[in-house]
């Protein structure tokens, strides 16, 4: 049986790569442009890196389950608009938070139903849901730049009260990473979920409720987007209809370069966080070096492709293949 349930908890070798890559990138940043490693810049790396991590965590859960979520940007936009709309009075903040999480969870449920009940390919299903979600977002009163979050929310999102470096969102994301990591490693629900992502057929034969787990992955992923949407709304202050747009590709890229297999099953939430930090630092370095946008995109794409190649390359198998080829040639 080709199932390796433990791999979901994060094998040290595979998932350590991204941290090594991040260390190299930070060293390059220090050498090429020390400005990007000043205290303020480092604080920004943690802030924006963990914001992207929060978004990527939702994507991570979906991808470990063998899916992909292209509605992430639309959900972030809708979530932030719903939050800003309902948070107009300080007394309604709790209601706004609950409604935002509920809205995103409902979007996730729609994704899950489309994939598991209607049997639509995740790529198409989530793309369709993204279009509907965006349509709904346009319908939120004030969606066209007429909403502003209360000052207290802006303050909560922007302040860095822990050691003067970590925002509340950052701390919440780190806690989330630890909880999810523990769930994948030590709890049966996490291990079962990884098994389903790795080999749904086997899981089905074993009697696991595969479709329910997959549906659940979209809902849980979307709940995390809901949290990120609230954070994003607080940061942006005036959330608009395009707020979530920059996060679609990076959310997938962070998961992929963190070592999660695109086909599902193997992944580490800690490594996904490393992937998000890596992408954030890469963007900062490119911006500070005045690299043309074309170069930024090429580097980002090359990193994703390179990262995937590194993970997919089985060096022992490849060397055996070429060794056999060499021996056969010698015989003939």
């Amino acid at each position: 049986m080709g199932t390796n349930i433990k791999s979901g908890g994060g094998g040290p070798g595979r998932f350590a790569f991204i941290w090594a890559a991040l260390a190299v990138l930070l060293a390059i940043s220090m050498a090429v442009n020390p400005d990007t490693m000043r205290t303020g810049a480092f604080t920004d790396l943690i802030y924006f890196g963990t914001l992207l991590s929060a978004i990527a965590l939702g994507q991570h859960i979906v991808m470990v389950g063998g899916g992909i979520d292209l509605s992430v940007a639309a959900q972030l936009t809708l979530g932030s608009l719903v939050f800003a709309y309902l948070a107009q009075g300080d007394s309604s903040l709790i209601l706004a938070v609950v409604a935002t999480l509920g809205t995103c969870a409902f979007c996730g449920l729609a994704n899950g139903i489309a994939v598991t009940v209607l049997r639509i390919t995740p790529l198409i299903a989530t793309l369709g849901v993204a279009s509907i979600v965006l349509g709904v977002a346009y319908g939120v009163p004030g969606a066209i730049g007429a909403l502003q979050v209360p000052a207290v929310v802006n303050q909560l999102a922007v302040d860095k009260p822990v050691f003067g470096m970590l925002s509340r969102g950052t701390v919440a994301t780190i806690v989330l990473v630890l909880l999810l990591s523990a769930a994948f490693r030590w709890f049966s629900v996490g291990r079962t979920f990884t098994l389903i992502g790795d080999n749904a057929q086997t899981a089905r034969v074993r009697g696991y409720r595969v479709e329910l787990y997959k549906l659940g992955s979209y809902v849980v992923g979307s709940l995390i987007y809901g949290f990120a949407a609230i954070w994003l709304a607080g940061l942006a202050n005036t959330p608009g209809i395009t707020l979530g747009n920059p996060y679609l590709l990076p959310s997938i890229a962070a998961v992929v370069i963190g070592g999660t297999a695109l086909g599902g099953g193997r992944g580490s939430v800690v490594a996904t966080m490393g992937g998000a930090l890596f992408l954030t630092q890469l963007k900062t370095l490119a911006l500070s070096l005045h690299a043309p946008i074309a170069v930024q995109y090429i580097v980002e794409g090359a990193m994703i492709a390179g990262g995937m190649a590194v993970y997919n390359l089985n060096i022992r198998q490849a060397s055996r293949f070429y060794l056999d080829l060499f021996k056969n040639n010698q015989k003939t």
Binding site: G145, T242, T280
Partner: protein, 356 residues
């Protein structure tokens, strides 16, 4: 009598439905011939924009419909709003449907420049009197459209430079935050600003531009990088008002005082400025008058042309700006949404229905 559609516009509520409707309209027009939109007793007017996802577009719609209500109520019988939702193909379909349905006059704001020109030419051949505004689409004035209403990018940049020279006393450093890299909206303004600095205030240096897609979160991230790179930043320029508050917050997060800033006017930004000013008394805001008058001018030209009147081939908007410290206490309307444009010069109750 003027018949107004839902001010929010169907496309804003349900873009997918709007696309479907646009496609079906074209299909119906192609299959069964055009269905003229004009009523028997007046002109039909179409208002078209490439996107509608920001307060300026909403204000354009309000401006155009207010102009019609005030000046052309007796000659215009129907007004219809088209928004292409950022989809160039949908935009082409919609302009073709404007031609197919026989509108008398149309104002068109193209986010894609010349990409819409063939459809515009078809509409002109079908007899629609078209006024183009904001973004040129090439083509021939008088043949492909009746006139064009344009921004004065040089003046916009010069105004910003004038503000900074005044507030910084002729010495300092400026950072810009823009949309997509080297876009045709920001770039000429930045160039004009640099030119004025070089000519009149050589001690003011334009340091850098953070290209951040006019996205508030991306702009905050870009500003963080620029703050680390440049220890002295005395002014920030951005012509997307929603990016400025997160950007100013970044200064505070980096333990630096928010600098003088320049950008378009919104009610929300004016209110935030007044709040911040209490804590940072030296804070200055150069409030560029938003280009909300384009649609009003353009709709007037299109209708006049449909009525057989002479219209100028080109009309360039006289770009202005205010010193917020002098006018914002009066201009800021706490009762209005943040997206309200204080300089739009429309009655508050009329504007309110567009900004729900």
């Amino acid at each position: 009598m003027t018949r107004h559609k839902d001010p929010q516009g169907p496309s804003r509520h349900a873009p997918s439905l709007c696309r479907l409707a646009g496609t079906l309209t074209i299909a119906a027009a192609a299959a069964f011939g055009s269905a003229p939109a004009q009523a028997e007793d007046g002109l039909s007017v179409a208002l078209f924009t490439g996107t509608c996802a920001n307060p300026i577009r909403t204000t354009w719609q309000a401006q155009a419909e207010y102009e019609i209500q005030q000046k052309y109520a007796d000659v215009v019988s129907s007004v219809e709003w088209f928004c292409a939702q950022g989809d160039v193909n949908l935009g082409i379909s919609q302009i073709k449907s404007i031609a197919a349905r026989g509108f008398d006059a149309a104002v068109i704001e193209s986010d894609w420049g010349g990409a819409l020109l063939p459809a515009i030419k078809d509409a002109a051949r079908a007899g629609v009197k078209i006024s183009i505004f904001l973004i040129p689409v090439d083509g021939e004035v008088g043949k492909d459209y009746v006139n064009v209403v344009l921004s004065d990018f040089d003046k916009l940049g010069e105004n910003a430079a004038e503000f900074f020279i005044d507030k910084l006393g002729g010495k300092g450093t400026i950072i810009g935050l823009g949309g997509p890299p080297n876009n045709t909206w920001d770039t000429p303004q930045i160039e004009a600003m640099k030119r004025v600095f070089a000519e009149r205030a050589p001690d003011i240096t334009y340091l850098d531009t953070g290209w951040a897609d006019w996205n508030p979160a991306s702009s905050a991230q870009a500003m963080g990088t620029l703050l680390s790179k440049y220890p002295e930043i005395d002014g920030v320029w951005s012509m997307e008002a929603t990016t400025l508050i997160p950007v100013l917050n970044q200064f505070i997060a980096h333990d630096r005082e928010p600098p003088a800033f320049y950008g378009f006017d919104t009610n929300g930004l004016a209110g935030q400025y007044l709040d911040l000013k209490k804590k940072y008394p030296s804070l200055e805001y150069g409030m560029a008058v938003s280009p909300s008058l384009y649609a009003r001018e353009a709709v007037g030209f299109a209708i006049d042309a449909a009525l057989g009147k002479e219209v100028p081939a080109e009309f360039v908007i006289d770009e202005k700006f205010f010193d917020c410290s002098a006018v914002c206490s009066d201009l800021h309307e706490p009762s209005m949404p943040d997206s309200y444009i204080p300089t739009s010069d429309l009655p508050l109750d009329f504007m309110q229905q567009y900004l729900k």
